[in-house]
């Protein structure tokens, strides 16, 4: 008598096929163990948008009746395993289907497991992951984030490795033997079977104590009721912008305090203020009005607003003036202009390290590197 559930938190569109592979293969494999299951994507996440955090679920039960009991709730209030396939989302997720910032481990049950694909270590991830009242296990699959272009599936075995780790984290969900047999049947690939087995063998996890982790309170939003909402399906516009941080000079647009979008970001722009020629292009082309104009006429990318699309980097005419850097490198949304103003040398050193790192790491999600995936494939074939 048991029901087990898994959620896969993934980047909309860029990782959709991978997430689908994971939840479907769980159900297929569990079937081999004589169980019954269902797999589904959270409907209110759709239509998926590039990079916006989304979820898919797999629920497995011993009997059809138990499955029904569990499915009486569409999105489970707790899951046995949470799988996060982009470690940047450890900072929390603001999905279409969720108002405010949801901690990545919000649904992970007491004693359950959070599996993250990451190159960071547990301590580093726990700077981002919000604390919980109950203990759970954190397992890391050492990996760069598996991203591909729009709608493209990057068949790099990340899904297989996740499935292998999952069998170790929660053998009650599905046995490794059933998984190996099922993957062989579904894919016909011995190397994929090997990837599953290897991830199973190499699985490690660490207990996260109650209270351990990021202590910040995630931003939230209270939804109004029918008596307090405006009639006629109307939303008031945001207040117009004004001077930079309320001052006389510069400019800052009005922004929503409850809808921020920054959890969509898997990379963020880092600005070289010394080489900026004040051409306005980043500010003009940013689809989210995320640049604040500082009193000295520079453009400060506001990290509470930026969704990390990379348009600023693409339009900037100055080499390395705007560089997209992997989001896990950062632990806050503080202003870069503030840091630069306070101490230019320190800022520039910090920036140089990050820019160099960004050049050596491929963390592409479509627009940022149009054609990047093709190049990668060619490089692999060569």
């Amino acid at each position: 008598m048991a029901t087990r559930s898994v959620e896969v938190v993934y980047r909309g569109i860029f990782q959709r096929t991978m997430a689908r592979n994971i939840v479907r293969n769980i159900v297929f494999a569990a079937r081999k163990d004589g169980k019954i299951g269902t797999a589904f994507g959270r409907y209110s996440d759709s239509p998926e948008r590039n990079g916006i955090p989304a979820k898919q679920f797999a629920v497995v039960a011993d009997t059809a009746l138990e499955l029904e009991e569990s499915l009486a709730v569409y999105e489970a209030s707790n899951v046995d395993v949470t799988i996060n396939v982009d470690d940047a989302m450890c900072k929390g997720i603001e999905s279409w289907a969720w108002y405010g910032l949801q901690p990545i481990n919000e649904l992970t049950r007491s004693g359950g497991t959070l599996i993250v694909t990451s190159r960071q270590d547990a301590d580093s991830l726990l700077e981002d992951i919000h604390q919980k009242d109950a203990p759970y296990n954190l397992s890391i699959i050492p990996s760069t984030v598996s991203f591909s272009g729009l709608w493209v599936y990057k068949d790099d075995h990340t899904d297989m490795r996740v499935l292998g780790a999952l069998c170790k984290a929660c053998p009650e969900l599905v046995s490794i033997n059933a998984m190996l047999e099922s993957i062989k049947e579904q894919t016909g690939s011995e190397t994929k079977v090997a990837s599953v087995q290897r991830a199973f063998d190499r699985f490690t996890s660490r207990l996260v104590e109650p209270g351990e982790g990021n202590t910040e309170t995630p931003f939230s939003f209270d939804m109004p009721g029918w008596k307090t909402m405006e009639e006629g399906v109307v939303i008031r516009g945001l207040p117009e912008g004004g001077g930079f941080r309320g001052g006389e000079e510069g400019y800052q647009p009005g922004r929503s305090e409850v809808f921020k979008k920054w959890s969509t970001r898997s990379m963020r722009p880092v600005i070289n203020f010394d080489t900026c020629i004040k051409c306005t292009l980043c500010w003009l082309q940013c689809p989210d009005e995320s640049f604040d104009i500082t009193p000295d006429g520079l453009y400060d990318a506001n990290m509470e607003s930026c969704c990390g699309c990379g348009v600023c980097e693409a339009v900037c005419p100055v080499p390395d003036c705007v560089t997209m850097v992997g989001e896990p490198e950062f632990n806050d949304n503080n202003s870069q202009w503030d840091a630069w103003t306070a101490d230019k040398d320190t800022y520039n050193k910090w920036m140089t390290v990050l820019v160099d790192k960004a050049k050596s790491e491929t963390r592409s999600h479509g627009f940022h590197h149009i054609g990047g995936y093709d190049e990668e494939i060619k490089a692999e074939e060569a």
């Binding site: 479907r24 159900v27 269902t38 029904e68 009486a72 709730v73 999105e75 029918w226």
Partner: protein, 407 residues
């Protein structure tokens, strides 16, 4: 017409598929000749699936992507008149955009099968389930069936063709599928073999009504008040004949496939000795059944009745099933603004059904799950409590309750 018989399933096979995909497979097994499409969520999931089957060479049919829903439904109506087995569908306001074509399809007695991926009507633009879209055909001569599971979606799509194309009936058939819960959730489904389906489902034969050069006929001439009453009466008689055909076909289905409920029209869950019977349609059956089980464990005499066929409405079956209850809680995933007592459509139909009985149970209406909001087990338990209170006090404080609406 496409003549290649699909051999997608030589043997019965278990698949992990959504309700939409199940209907796509049913179309292949039924060897549908013409499918028309125009994208709108959540119906588009079936469109994507049949596209894939066609691209893979697994299912041969004429696929026409129309420039709008109106044309989409017009095309299948015409194809049906020349003897093609057809499939189409839509959702929400897309279904409404096709409405002129939808009304004539029934009027001309074309056995088109359509899937309605139930979706809230705009505005606001929302993707979640509401039943008002499909319900709009309730007065037009369409069969209207509410599906609860992916397995039922596949089974009923096959049954739909056989019923709709029966020469005694010749009326279109709408399969209502709750957006998200059915169209986007993948469940284990038993897919029958092509041989089983061939044994069950004969070819569509429109007989002397088929538009063909060898059978010169005029279809749909202008007709005025001298003709309308008679034409309407013919459609009425066809609708009156269909319950017997449905029973017959359902029995055949059960024999060939070894699956099916006691009744094709309603599903009764722990209703036999129930004081309070909950009534609803579609996928809300799942949380409701769970709530009923939990309440039964605490000794409450509660049951759930799922209305499967909304048209033809199973009047006698419902009277028989509900007459022993003290209270009935009708859950509507729809609403009729300004209707008698300000209630939902299913509630009005049921109250009308129960009116001729000598002893009528207390009837309450609960508006729930609009726009895809989840109907929770606790919501259902509250509905039963409210109904029980009305039974105990003999007094109805409030006939219609909006469930889990933020004030």
């Amino acid at each position: 017409m496409a003549t290649v018989t699909t051999k997608l399933y030589q043997e019965p096979k278990e698949e992990l598929i959504s309700g939409s995909e199940a209907i796509g497979i049913a179309c292949a097994l039924a060897d549908v000749d013409v499918i028309t499409a125009y994208p709108i969520r959540p119906y588009d999931t079936v469109m994507q699936y049949v596209s894939r089957l066609k691209a893979d060479g697994a299912f041969d049919f004429d696929y026409i992507i129309a420039e709008s829903e109106h044309s989409q439904f017009e095309i299948v109506k015409h194809a049906s008149s020349v003897g093609a087995r057809t499939f189409t569908g839509s959702s929400g306001v897309g279904w409404f955009y096709a409405f002129e074509a939808i009304t004539v399809t029934a009027g001309l007695r074309m056995p088109v099968v359509a899937m309605v991926g139930n979706r809230a009507l705009d505005d606001p633009g929302a993707f979640g389930v509401e039943h008002n879209d499909a319900m709009a055909v309730r007065d037009l001569g369409w069969h209207l069936y509410w599906v609860a599971t992916a397995q039922e979606a596949l089974d009923m799509a096959l049954i739909a063709y056989k019923v709709a194309e029966d020469p005694r009936v010749l009326l279109p058939f709408a399969l209502s599928c709750d957006g998200s819960f059915l169209t986007h959730s993948q469940a284990i489904v038993q897919v029958p073999s092509q041989d089983q389906v061939d044994k069950f489902l004969p070819a569509y034969n429109r007989g002397s009504l088929q538009l063909h050069p060898d059978n010169p006929i005029t279809v749909a001439p202008q007709a005025n008040e001298d003709w309308l009453m008679e034409i309407r009466k013919q459609t009425d008689e066809a609708m009156r004949r269909t319950p017997a055909v449905i029973k017959e076909v359902y029995a055949e289905f059960k024999e060939v496939f070894g699956r099916g409920d006691d009744s094709p029209f309603i599903e009764q869950y722990m209703c036999e000795d129930a004081d309070v019977i909950l009534v609803g349609m579609g996928t809300l059956a799942m949380p409701t059944r769970v709530a009923v089980r939990r309440m039964r464990e605490t000794g409450k005499k509660v049951g759930f009745l799922r209305v499967k066929f909304f048209r033809p409405f199973p009047t006698e079956e419902l009277q028989e099933a509900l007459k022993g209850a003290k209270g009935i809680a009708v859950i509507d995933r729809d609403y009729s603004y300004g209707s008698p007592g300000y209630g939902g459509v299913l509630f009005h139909e049921l109250r009308s059904t129960m009116y001729p009985l000598d002893e009528r149970p207390v009837m309450l209406n609960f508006i729930a799950g609009l726009g895809g909001r989840e109907v929770m087990v606790s919501d259902v338990e509250e509905m039963v409590e409210t109904t029980q209170k009305a039974i105990d006090t003999g007094k109805i404080d409030q006939e219609t309750t909006w469930v889990a609406v933020r004030e």
